[in-house]
């Protein structure tokens, strides 16, 4: 690999001045060769399937005696008429609203505490962060135990106050909120880490300068810390949104989408349609919706939010 051309392979102003055509070609070739393995896998498992999903959503599900045929918008038509789809979309929106602000707010609070001079902050940090490294499956198992009517932990605690047992996961109105609580519990510590990292990047003399001006902690937080954390908040927000459309492990374990689809999320519905009913055509159409949502998030991040909070 000791080629003579290597001397000018490296791109850059200094090397650029002396670049010959063949050396430039070498750089192109080298770049692509290095990229190739990763690019191939990305293309095969991200780009191709994303496009393939759109393509297949216009085709019927192949069955033993009926090969797949072009059906136009039929799959989308069934989607519009599918009450479970609408239920799943609604659930997912509630899930977003329930998990995102709560976990971000808690994460911020935790980070501020753990970053401060509070006593025993090592222990606090451990307590907040541990749920993050546990698998959602394990977390769901543990929480299912707590939600058990009558003798589960939550009802036992309620029992101390003379409250009756309650069927948390078996009641339409509470089941989704149970999942939301589990999700917030698991995610807040994760997001806390990002806030913690960002807080540690804020120079301490800013708070000293503010102290001399007599600003209260709250005023400083509102006027300085919080605005300075905006890029982190955006990052966390985007992650939280993606996660709320990506995480269905707890649904699989705790409720299987029930009762009566009250906890069915979009991806869980796709999973059921695709891998229980084996209706891959329809599952593709559902996935297109999910992709559209993610594309929207990406665009939102790119255009609306990013611009407003950039100050560096």
């Amino acid at each position: 690999m000791r080629s003579k051309g290597w001397g000018v392979l490296i791109a850059g102003p200094r090397a650029g001045a002396r670049v010959t055509r063949s050396a430039r070609n070498m750089a192109h070739l080298y770049g692509w060769l290095l990229l190739l393995p990763a690019a191939a896998l990305l293309a095969l498992f991200t780009h191709y399937p994303a496009l393939g999903t759109i393509y297949h959503s216009f085709y019927s599900t192949p069955r033993a005696n009926r090969p797949s045929v072009y059906v136009g918008l039929d799959n989308y038509q069934s989607m519009v008429e599918d009450p479970v789809f609408w239920q799943a979309v609604t659930n997912n929106l509630i899930f977003c609203i329930g998990t995102i602000p709560a976990s971000i707010a808690l994460a911020l609070l935790m980070a501020v505490w753990v970053n401060g001079k509070i006593r025993g902050r090592g222990l606090l940090r451990t307590a907040f962060f541990t749920p993050t490294i546990l698998p959602m499956i394990a977390v769901a198992n543990i929480w299912m135990f707590f939600y058990t009517p009558d003798y589960g932990l939550i009802d036992q605690i309620r029992g101390l106050f003379g409250l009756p047992g309650f069927n948390w996961l078996g009641t339409r109105n509470t089941a989704l909120w149970c999942l939301i609580v589990v999700t917030v519990w698991k995610e807040a510590g994760f997001f806390m880490i990002f806030y913690l990292a960002a807080l540690q990047q804020i120079p301490p003399d800013l708070s000293e300068a503010a102290a001399i001006e007599g600003s209260s902690r709250w005023y400083f937080f509102r006027r300085v810390t919080f605005p300075l954390l905006m890029p982190t908040t955006l990052f966390v927000l985007v992650n939280a949104v993606i996660n709320s459309f990506r995480m269905v492990d707890h649904v699989v374990v705790m409720t299987r989408g029930g009762p009566d689809n009250a906890t069915s999320l979009l991806l869980f519905h796709i999973y059921e349609v695709g891998f229980k009913f084996w209706d891959v055509g329809y599952a593709a159409a559902l996935t297109v919706v999910l992709l559209a949502v993610l594309a929207l998030v990406a665009l939102g991040q790119f255009f609306a939010l990013d611009r407003r909070i950039h100050y560096r």
């Binding site: 192109h28 970053n115 589960g152 301490p204």
Partner: protein, 275 residues
Amino acid sequence: MSALARPSIIGDALETAGAWLLALVWALPILYAFWTAFHPGEFATRFSLLAPWTLENFANAWNAAPFARYFLNTVVLVTMILAGQLVLCTLAAYAFARFTFVGHNVAFALVLVQLMIMPDVLIVENYRTMRLLGVLDTTLAMALPYMASAFGIFLLRQTFKTVPRELDEAARVEGCGPLQTLWKVYVPLAKPVYIAFGLVSVSYHWNNFLWPLIVTNSVSTRPLTVGLAVFSGSDQGIDWSIITAATFLSVAPLLVAFLLFQRQFVQSFMQAGIK
């Protein structure tokens, strides 16, 4: 924070109490599950300080399902993914950090697409691909979609970009080829980032569930998470003591590693998050 207008002692105490209360709420589920796992079944639902401690639940769980095999599967899976990621992401990141080639901007944008559209949501199409490749129900099928990690490429590219060009040039003057330079200059300098990425990747894939659930259906490939879900989803009714024991069994290596190397874990996650 001490410099800011000092709140009253009462306010301080209230805040400390609040923080501790929240931490307690956060720790309680794990502590209680831990307690349940180490006590006989009849104490699963009533708390008593005098309850005898036991390891029987762990023995029962271990015997009731092939957890040893699941462990092996998970370790193989996580290792395979990490090894693939390290190699592929290093090469790609190097290309993006130090080479200007035709379409590198477009290529980079295409890589970043994966940050939004993770393989987790493309289950239907990826399953189709795996079937065509004839690798269903293998560890490879679980690993392939994650090997080219956009996150890893991005992270390493940022790191490689901070390596001073002088070092690169010095290595070239000494006669290193591009791969040698990568190996001798860039990789050693990025060691902390590799560790950070490794920890994040291992904990992510140790915990991954949906995709392995879909592509595996036998004991010889199924990772811990799926094994645990199958185990606790049996038609036979739920024994909380055994299920919590099984739960702890399957998270133990990660949990113990975390508790021992907490600082490194937190630092790594922070480092990976700052980008």
